[in-house]
Symmetry: C2
Subunit: 367 residues, 2 copies
């Protein structure tokens, strides 16, 4: 690896709405990485999304799955639009992609020196969202009650297997991210004391499913001396978690949550840092990683150069970090932080800069 | 009714932890209502809770249900503790009570002149939480996968019936609360324009269950000329809802959500007003209402006079309001607001006042 650049092939799946604006921005930043980082890129465009469904009848072509699986070292996903009415045959391609590629954890760092709360305390959380099950298995049926009215049932599935690997990832990342953070932002707030993992659940109501989730992660911890010694373990009911996250965001480090709670928590956490347009995520499996901004497809601002490219650009960095390239990832994070600190920001953050201007500034900062 | 006082019989179910401190506070305030309001009270103590379960093996005695159903005009519930490990045979009495008494909507007003957000915008929301189904039906099973590892399944049930009545209540309250508010707090922010209902769902993933929820409520609206004329209807995915609630709480009026989302949202909304200790709720059915503070049993502060009695006291007022006694309810709301405005507050709000001091001050203000 020392002699000559690595060439990485990334699948790009812009999908819908502003996904088509922020993914090209992320690509431009990756291409602007100076040669000292020894990474070069091939990009492969892949189709998916609601608009693709409307044109072709399929939201996630088999070809996309195969290209990603066989030809790519990683991927970047944009955003999907949700139909405003039920559309027969349509099913979210992002949920399907996570499943097909077994990207079992969605990793969402939420960081700001000053949270957008009344206290302005810092926030520096890593939300790990289980990514394959819970209500996202989409096993739903509809029947009729005796009086003829409709009754719908969805299955929520929690397995020991998925809980265990989400837990393992949480403890590993709790241990790891401290060293990464120390390298990354020397002046920044560091966690005082031991790394901490907070298990989110609602086992006071869902004693069997969330009970299994919680007990399994506790068991991972209890049976691993390294974790016990170096990581604190706490838990929080999901309702209290949302409350506490807004009252005292500074007390959370790594947070691990079942799929739906993780979805809700990470959007909520985005409000703490001021905009969904800032928060990246990585869908992580054992053999593949796909970066994905936490924001949606925002059709209302599409085509107006208003989309904040930061979440997608940070997602590209998070992708690099998670496939073993921390140095260029760090360079991108730093360039983004610098441009934000200058106040060059899109309208979601109260600024006037365009998508292109922010992207260009980040590229310039990198070089 | 004009000649002489009404005597109301209220069941008091303090249950666990600080429930035993805030329910007596609410009782004291009800008893302090001046005679001009023409209401008198009988109180009946009812057992329930985790501690009761530990003593007797039952968390909700049949006698409690029957006393409430047969002898009471309303009830006030305190809070329940959740066991820190799975306990065989234990099941949350509050969930069971809501079901047994068919209290199908949990109504949670969240009000503050200045929200605890960076912008400090006002918040004046009414969250209506469906209270009988969703994952709260507690149909859970556990089996084993082929490799012997555990697999747990929970059923999430959404019915047309429950969705319709939750929707009806949302539109009714959207119409009603504007007149109540105008009477109640003349100087306060008023909703500009029409009353608004926001349907919360996640039908981009749960197209059948949340699809039914959303379509049913839309249908209630579409088929009622009064609603169409006087109420705006919007919808919001639950993840975006949490985000937007913290970014721009001022844009929400009445919010209607399935059980679990409603649980999470209302705790989150409590952070907007500064403390869970401020937020009341009423469990409302067609024939019975039970007030209940949104906070939990907080065993960590029990017995120290630190519990904020305001949520329970406001829940008593909300109970009165919902069983047809708006005048004494308004008197209590106003007395509470006055005492809070004076800065006489418990430690959750940064003050030093005790539970008893706050309660006494509210009683004094009333007289
Ligand atoms: C678009 C939707 C299916 C998706 C999800 O709920 O996972 C989105 O909200 C996300 O967080 O990536
Ligand atoms: C204690 C618990 C079962 C309850 C719930 O989830 O309904 C509580 O959180 C509430 O909001 O009243």
């Amino acid at each position: 690896n020392g002699n000559g650049a690595n060439t990485l092939t990334f699948g790009l799946i812009p999908a819908d709405g502003i996904g088509r604006e922020v993914i090209p921005a992320a690509r431009q930043v990756l291409e602007a990485l100076p040669s000292q980082y020894q990474v070069k890129f091939n990009f492969v465009h892949c189709d998916a999304g609601f608009e693709h469904f409307q044109k072709t009848g399929t939201a996630l072509p088999q070809e996309t799955i195969e290209t990603l699986r066989n030809d790519c070292d990683g991927a970047l996903f944009g955003a999907v639009s949700s139909p405003s009415h039920k559309v027969a045959g349509y099913s979210s391609p992002i949920v399907a992609l996570r499943k097909h590629l077994d990207l079992y954890a969605n990793v969402r760092p939420v960081v700001a020196q000053q949270s957008k709360t009344a206290s302005g305390q810092p926030v520096d959380m890593l939300i790990i969202r289980e990514n394959t099950e819970c209500l996202y298995i989409k096993k739903e049926t509809q029947t009729k009650a005796e009086d003829g009215s409709a009754v719908a049932i969805a299955e929520r599935r929690i397995t020991e297997h998925a809980s265990r690997r989400a837990g393992e990832m949480a403890f590993q990342m709790a241990l790891n991210r401290h060293s990464v953070r120390e390298k990354r932002s020397p002046g920044q707030r560091m966690w005082k004391g031991l790394p901490k993992v907070t298990i989110v659940h609602k086992s006071n109501v869902l004693s069997i499913t969330d009970g299994l989730w919680r007990e399994t992660i506790r068991h991972v911890y209890d049976t691993n001396a390294t974790y016990r010694k170096n990581v604190l373990l706490e838990e929080q009911l999901v309702d209290s978690m949302v409350y506490r996250m807004f009252r005292e965001p500074e007390v959370f480090d790594v947070v691990v949550a079942p799929n739906l709670y993780g979805d809700i928590l990470s959007d909520g956490a985005a409000a703490l840092v001021g905009s969904l347009g800032l928060v990246p995520s990585a869908n992580v499996g054992d053999t593949f990683v796909m970066g994905e901004p936490v924001h949606g497809s925002a059709p209302d601002i599409m085509g107006q150069q208003k989309a904040n490219p930061v979440a997608a650009i940070r997602s590209a960095a998070l992708l690099l970090e998670n496939i073993g390239f921390p140095a260029p990832a760090l360079a991108i994070y730093t360039a983004v932080d610098d441009v934000l600190a200058e106040g060059l920001v899109t309208p979601d953050l109260g600024g006037k800069a365009t998508t292109q201007e922010v992207t260009d500034a980040i590229c310039k900062q990198l070089s």
